[in-house]
Amino acid sequence: MKLEGKKAIWSEYQKEIADDKFFYVRSCIRQNFFPGSEVAFLRIMRDVLKKDVYEHPCHTTCSGIGYHGDVVPVETAMTVVARQFALMTEAGYSNYIPSCITSFGLYTEILDTWHHFPEVEEKVRKQLKKATGREFEKPKNLAHASDVIYKFRKEIAAKAKYKLINKNTGEPLKVVDHIGCHYAKMFPSKGVGGAEYPYVLAGMIEEWGGQIIDYPERRHCCGFGFRQYLVQANRGFSVACSKEKFESMKPFKPDMIITNCPGCPMFLDRWQYVINEMEGKRYGQNGEGIPVFTYEEVAGLVLGYDPWDLGLQMHQTDCEPVLDKIGIEYSPEDKYNLEVIPSHTKNHNLINV
């Protein structure tokens, strides 16, 4: 493989990412799947990078999950999104950063639709005004939260306590990056690095000391695929998709997987357990699974956050093999100890602290 070829593509797909004053919107489902990730993002942005990040308590689902599951019509989704933009406008912000990849894809699609069909935007404005009395400005800058961490990856590296390096061998950890489908597959120009060879997570991994693996099923769906999973009868397809990926990445001996989507870490993590139960098969080294992380979790780990503060005990595939390789200090006995309250949550209102 020629890295220069990829670099040429990466250089063509760079996007503008705002520097400060962000309106942050959480995902509907991430807090259930990986409850520490969004909190970690806010800690990094506010405490480490000293950025102004605002959350609005009236923010709702963007309805993207219903839109892509074919149960919410696009015009309804547009009006819901218009309301989110109204909240941003009322709060005095214009740089919009969703936590969810599907939300990012939906916002991108809607803004593009309004660009090409201004009469649709006008109709949605009227609908929103009639229903809620609200008006809105469109974001001046729309970026996914992983874009923002990518933008500040060097600043994070400069303050890092750990590197993604095997402390025993001195070798970079081998990392599989998995990008959510709705990040750039619909609009390649809106993703860092484009759709075929995305750089958004690869850039973080490189900067933090790891090495990205390019394996044949890199582009394949994680197994969420909305209707594969949401329709119970289709769940076999979901497991089959994940298995396809694991089989393909296994020969490259990855140490970990990093993701930027709500569904991908969930399915790549949980289905490893399921496949092991069904077939007695594991895909990591030494009979272990391959630990799966969100990018916020990885950023938090390199910055030295406590793994249990990051919620890594919620992973079904144990994360300890990676923690041990890097040499991250942690307390095994506190993994499920509910008495230990993370220090950063004490005396904090998580919304707009």
Partner: protein
């Protein structure tokens, strides 16, 4: 006083018009951006459908254009293009000014830059090559992989950059299908143990003896033709390639491991042509090639009186068609020089 015509481009069309005009007693300045004439012909090993050596056609063109009436300017590009009454003033990158009574644009085509089809990994995966790269291997009679070993399984993807809305090329490049068939046969000739798979959307074998060549590829050489567009290529840990494709005749998805993947790059308006269109005010069509004033009856005439087109700067053509088109451009120019009207 002899009339003077500037011919822009020294490929097949440019050499043909220069030679024919010169034989008709017209003074010609032939401008070529490269260090030698011949264009894409120099890069091809053998030609379809009869697989004669491309050098034979080049020899014909060289003989035709070796004439004292032709002033050849190599490593030269056009920087200025002005019309002043019945004369054209052409300025070159070397500061030379040429006064011409007429101009023939024969800027040809550029091969589609296959790296733009990112999903196929050209420029990233070692053993993904283009049809032009393969011709180079044929010339050296050394079809080998990057690691020096001989490929056993080779895939050929048709329509790379043609009939593809995603890259903005709706048109058919017309010659890639027959090039794929020719190259598949040549691979089998040079590597009799190899297996060759062609992945196509439609087989467009519209030229004389093309269909016969297609039949020969299947019957004599055992080339496999699979109707389906390849969606992606990837590299495996053992440096092989895997592709995903839908076999639309069998109605099922297919995943295949290959040693080498050859991309049939389509034809696009050349960068040189685009530049001249810009500075000369020459009209281009939706396909970005030069637009003739009438596709049926005046395919050589431009929107500027006294400026004519020859060859693939107007649309994809094979060599036979290019030479015919060049000759018709010569007739148009001679006619124009008689009375000053296109």
């Amino acid at each position: 006083m002899k009339k003077h015509v500037v011919v822009i481009g020294g490929g097949v069309a440019g050499l043909e018009v220069a030679g024919q005009l010169s034989h008709s007693g017209i003074e010609v300045s032939l401008i070529e951006k490269e260090s030698k004439t011949g264009g894409h012909l120099n890069n091809w090993y053998k030609l379809f459908p009869d697989r004669r050596k491309s050098s034979e056609v080049k020899e014909y063109l060289d003989r035709l254009s070796q004439n004292q009436g032709i002033s050849l300017l190599t490593n030269t590009t056009i920087e200025g293009f002005h019309r002043n009454r019945n004369k054209f003033l052409i300025t070159t990158n070397k500061g030379k000014e040429l006064n011409a009574d007429a101009v023939i644009v024969a800027t040809g085509f550029d091969l589609f830059k296959s790296a733009r089809k990112e999903e196929y990994g050209y420029g990233i995966y070692d053993n993904v090559i283009t049809s032009a790269d393969l011709e180079e291997k044929f010339r050296r009679e050394e079809i080998v992989l990057v690691n020096g070993s001989v490929p056993e399984t080779i895939g050929i993807i048709h329509c790379v950059g043609s009939r593809d809305e995603k890259v903005g090329n709706f048109y058919c490049s017309k010659l890639c299908c027959v090039t794929a068939v020719k190259q598949a046969i040549e691979i089998r000739e040079q590597l009799p143990e190899s297996k060759v798979f062609c992945f196509y959307m439609d087989m467009r074998m519209g030229g004389a003896f093309y269909e016969e060549l297609y039949r020969e590829a299947q019957e004599k050489w055992g080339v496999n033709f699979i109707r389906g567009k390849v969606s992606e290529a990837s590299e495996t840990i053992d440096d092989k390639l895997t592709i995903k494709v839908e076999d639309t005749l069998a109605g099922r998805p297919l995943k295949m491991k290959l040693d080498m993947l050859v991309l049939m790059a389509g034809m696009e308006m050349s960068d040189g042509g685009k530049k001249i269109a810009g500075i000369g005010g020459l009209r281009t069509g939706e396909n970005r090639f030069f637009a003739a004033t009438d596709n049926h009856t005046s395919s050589n005439k431009s929107n500027i009186e006294g400026v004519f087109y020859a060859g693939t700067c107007t649309a994809p053509m094979n060599i036979t068609e290019t030479i015919s088109h060049a000759r018709s451009a010569v007739l148009e120019v001679i006619d124009f020089l008689k009375d000053g009207k296109s």
